[in-house]
C-alpha cells in the first residue's frame, strides 16, 4: 500500500515538473518567437521554418521602425504620458490616501463611499465621451493624463500602506509643530517607498499599455500613443491578410514586410516591460495581495 502510494506520488511529481516546464515554455515562447521574427528579414520569415533562432539575421526592421516618423512620434507620446501619468497619479493618490488613512477625519466614511461607489457603477462610454469632447480633451495630449489620474485600486493599496505607519509617528511630529504636508512628504512617503514603487509601476504599465483611450476618444491621429498605433496597424493587417500573401506580392527588392516591421514595433513596446518587470516582481505581488485582500 505504502509502496503504491509513493510510486503514484513519484509519477505525479515527474508529470507535474513536465507540465510546469511546458507551461513556462508556452508562456514565454510567443515572446521569443516574435523576438526572432523581428530580427529576421521579413521575406525569409514568411517562408516558414524559423522557430528558435533567426535564419536571416537583420536589424533592418528596427532601424526602419525608428525611422518611421509615425512610430517614433507615437513612442514619444507613450513615454510622455507614462512619465507625466506616473508623477501626477502618484502625487494625487498619495494626498488622498494620506487624508483617508487618518481615522479621526470627520466625514471619512462618506468620502470612502464616495470613492468606492465609482468602482461599482458608472455612466457608460457615451456620456464619458461627450464629457471629454465638451472639455476639448479629445483633441489634446492631456486626454491621456488627466482622466486617468485617479484609480481606486491604487488608492486602496496606498491607503493600506499608509495606515500601517504607526500613529505615534504622526502624533509626535504634530507635537513638534510639523504641518500635514511635511508629515506626509517627509515621514509617510519615505516610510512607504516599496508600495509607492509598486503603485508607480502599476500606473506606468497601465499608461504604456493603454490603447483604448487613443483609439476611441482621440480624434487627432498624430496624437496616437504607440499602443493605439499598433492596434490600428493590426486592423489594417487583418483586413489585407485574407486577400492574399502580401509577402508574395511585394517586390523582390524589399527584404522587409509590413509584418516584420510590425514585429519590431511589438518588441519595442514589449521590451521595456520584459526588462523591468523581473526586478520588481516581489513588489507587484505584494501590491496585488494588499489590493485584493482589502478590496
Amino acid at each position: 500500500m505504502i509502496i503504491h502510494q509513493t510510486r503514484s506520488r513519484k509519477i505525479f511529481v515527474v508529470l507535474n515538473y513536465i507540465f510546469m516546464t511546458l507551461f513556462a515554455f508556452v508562456t514565454f515562447y510567443p515572446f521569443w518567437y516574435v523576438f526572432i521574427a523581428s530580427l529576421n528579414t521579413g521575406r525569409d520569415f514568411a517562408r516558414g521554418g524559423v522557430y528558435l533562432l533567426p535564419r536571416a539575421f537583420t536589424l533592418e526592421n528596427y532601424s526602419l521602425a525608428f525611422q518611421n516618423s509615425q512610430i517614433f512620434k507615437s513612442l514619444t507620446i507613450s513615454v510622455g504620458r507614462t512619465v507625466l501619468g506616473v508623477i501626477l497619479g502618484l502625487f494625487f493618490t498619495a494626498l488622498m490616501a494620506y487624508a483617508l488613512c487618518i481615522k479621526t477625519l470627520p466625514g471619512r466614511a462618506f468620502f470612502s463611499f464616495f470613492f468606492y461607489f465609482t468602482t461599482i457603477f458608472g455612466g457608460g462610454m457615451v456620456p464619458y465621451y461627450i464629457l471629454l469632447r465638451d472639455l476639448g480633451l479629445n483633441k489634446s495630449f492631456w486626454l491621456y493624463v488627466i482622466p486617468s489620474i485617479y484609480n481606486f485600486f491604487n488608492f486602496l493599496i496606498m491607503r493600506t500602506s499608509f495606515a500601517a505607519v504607526p500613529l505615534e509617528i504622526r502624533e509626535s511630529a504634530q507635537l513638534d509643530g510639523a504641518s500635514e504636508p511635511r508629515i506626509l512628504f517627509q515621514l509617510y512617503v519615505p516610510l512607504s517607498t516599496a508600495i509607492l514603487a509598486t503603485v508607480a509601476l502599476f500606473i506606468g504599465v497601465g499608461h504604456w499599455n493603454d490603447w483604448f483611450t487613443g483609439a476611441y476618444y482621440q480624434s487627432r491621429v498624430d496624437l496616437y500613443p504607440a499602443a493605439t498605433l499598433l492596434q490600428k496597424l493590426l486592423n489594417e493587417a487583418s483586413s489585407t491578410i485574407k486577400t492574399g500573401q502580401e509577402t508574395a506580392s511585394t517586390g523582390a527588392l524589399q527584404s522587409y514586410t509590413s509584418q516584420s516591421l510590425q514585429m519590431a514595433f511589438v518588441m519595442i513596446l514589449t521590451m521595456p516591460i520584459v526588462v523591468v518587470y523581473p526586478f520588481l516582481q516581489k513588489y507587484y505581488v505584494k501590491g496585488v495581495m494588499i489590493g485584493s485582500i482589502k478590496g
Binding site: G48, P106, F114, G124, P127, Y128, S179, W211, A227, V266
Partner: protein, 319 residues
C-alpha cells in the same frame, strides 16, 4: 469587506457631539480636506458627471441643447433595444463568452496554484512563476499581435507544423469556429499565471497540521486536496467568484474588441462592443447610453446576487 468597514466607521463617528466641536475638528483637519479636494473635483467631473450624463438614455439628444436641455423620451431607447433583433444575439454572445470563461478561465489559476504548490524545488518554482506573470503586464494589443504571427497561415509556427505533419493550414484568427477557443485560450494564457498569486498566498495559510491529521486518517494526496486544501481556500475562491460574476457582462471587453473580425462578428458582438459600435461609431448616442445603462444596472444586480449566494453557502461576502 469594504462595506462592513464603512459601516464600522460610520458607527464610530460621534453623532451626538456638539456642532461647535465638529466645526473645530473640521478646522483641525483642514489640510486633509485640501488634500482630498483635487480628487473630489476629479471624481465629480470624470465619474459622477457621466453618471448624470447617463440620463441621456431617457432623452432625445440634441447637440445644440446639450444633455441637460434635451427633451425627455421616456423608455423609448430601452424599448428599441429590447425589441431589436440584436438584443438576444448580443445578450447571448455576452453570456456564452462569460459562461465559457467562468467554466474554463476561472478554475485555471486555482488548478495552477494547486500544482505549483506541489513543486518542492524553490528556484524552479520561482522561474515558472516569473514566466507565468509576464503576460499580465503586456497589453491585449501585443497579445493579439503575437497571436496573429503565431497562428498566421503564412509562415506562422502552428500552421507550419501542421503543414509538416501533412495537415491543411487553418486561418485560426479569422474563422468563426475558432473564435471561442481563441478567446478562452488567450484569456487563460494572459491571466491564469497572475491569478495564481492570490490562491498561492491563501494556500500558504493552510496549517500543515491539517495535512498531517489527514495523512494519519489515511487520506492520500488527492483526498487531502479535496477535503483539506479546497475547504481552506474556499473563502478566497468565493471572493474571486463574486468579482467574476460582477464582471460577467463585461466578458473581457478589450480582448473581444481586438479579436473581432468581420467573419466572427455574429458571435463576437458583446454588450460593450455593441455600445461602442452604435454609440461612438454610428453616433446613436442615446441608444448606446441606454444599452450601457441596462448593462450597468444588470451587473450591479448580478454582483449582489452572487454576493448573497456566497454569503449563504461559503460565508464570504464583499459587501
Amino acid at each position: 469587506m469594504l462595506g462592513t468597514a464603512l459601516i464600522a466607521q460610520a458607527a464610530g463617528t460621534p453623532a451626538g457631539k456638539k456642532r461647535a466641536d465638529l466645526r473645530k475638528r473640521i478646522w483641525q483637519h483642514r489640510w486633509l480636506y485640501l488634500f482630498i479636494l483635487p480628487c473630489v473635483i476629479w471624481l465629480l467631473v470624470f465619474c459622477y458627471y457621466p453618471m448624470y450624463g447617463a440620463t441621456l438614455a431617457f432623452k432625445n439628444y440634441s447637440y445644440k441643447l446639450g444633455i441637460l436641455n434635451s427633451p425627455w423620451a421616456g423608455l423609448k431607447h430601452f424599448r428599441t433595444f429590447i425589441y431589436s433583433p440584436d438584443f438576444w444575439r448580443v445578450i447571448k454572445n455576452t453570456l456564452v463568452i462569460s459562461g465559457l470563461k467562468l467554466l474554463f478561465s476561472f478554475p485555471a489559476p486555482i488548478l495552477l496554484a494547486l500544482l505549483l504548490n506541489e513543486v518542492q524545488a524553490v528556484r524552479f518554482k520561482r522561474v515558472v512563476q516569473t514566466f507565468s506573470y509576464l503576460p499580465n503586464f503586456v497589453s491585449w494589443v501585443v497579445v493579439v499581435s503575437l497571436m496573429n504571427v503565431i497562428f498566421s497561415p503564412y509562415g506562422g509556427v502552428i500552421n507550419d507544423l501542421r503543414k509538416n505533419a501533412g495537415l491543411d493550414s487553418i486561418f485560426f484568427m479569422g474563422s468563426r469556429e475558432y473564435f471561442y477557443p481563441m478567446v478562452i485560450l488567450s484569456d487563460i494564457w494572459k491571466n491564469a499565471g497572475w491569478g495564481t498569486i492570490i490562491y498561492l498566498s491563501a494556500l500558504t495559510s493552510v496549517s500543515p497540521e491539517l495535512y498531517e491529521a489527514a495523512a494519519i486518517d489515511g487520506a492520500g494526496r488527492l483526498k487531502s486536496t479535496f477535503y483539506v486544501t479546497l475547504p481552506c481556500i474556499k473563502g478566497t475562491i468565493g471572493i474571486m467568484f463574486i468579482n467574476a460574476v460582477g464582471g460577467l457582462l463585461n466578458a473581457g471587453f478589450d480582448q473581444i474588441l481586438l479579436l473581432q473580425q468581420p467573419d466572427n462578428q455574429l458571435i463576437s458582438d458583446i454588450l460593450d462592443t455593441f455600445v461602442l459600435k452604435t454609440g461612438l461609431s454610428q453616433g446613436r448616442f442615446e441608444y448606446a447610453t441606454a444599452i450601457g445603462l441596462f448593462k450597468s444596472v444588470l451587473s450591479l444586480g448580478l454582483m449582489t446576487l452572487a454576493n448573497e449566494v456566497c454569503k449563504r453557502t461559503m460565508e464570504v461576502s464583499i459587501f
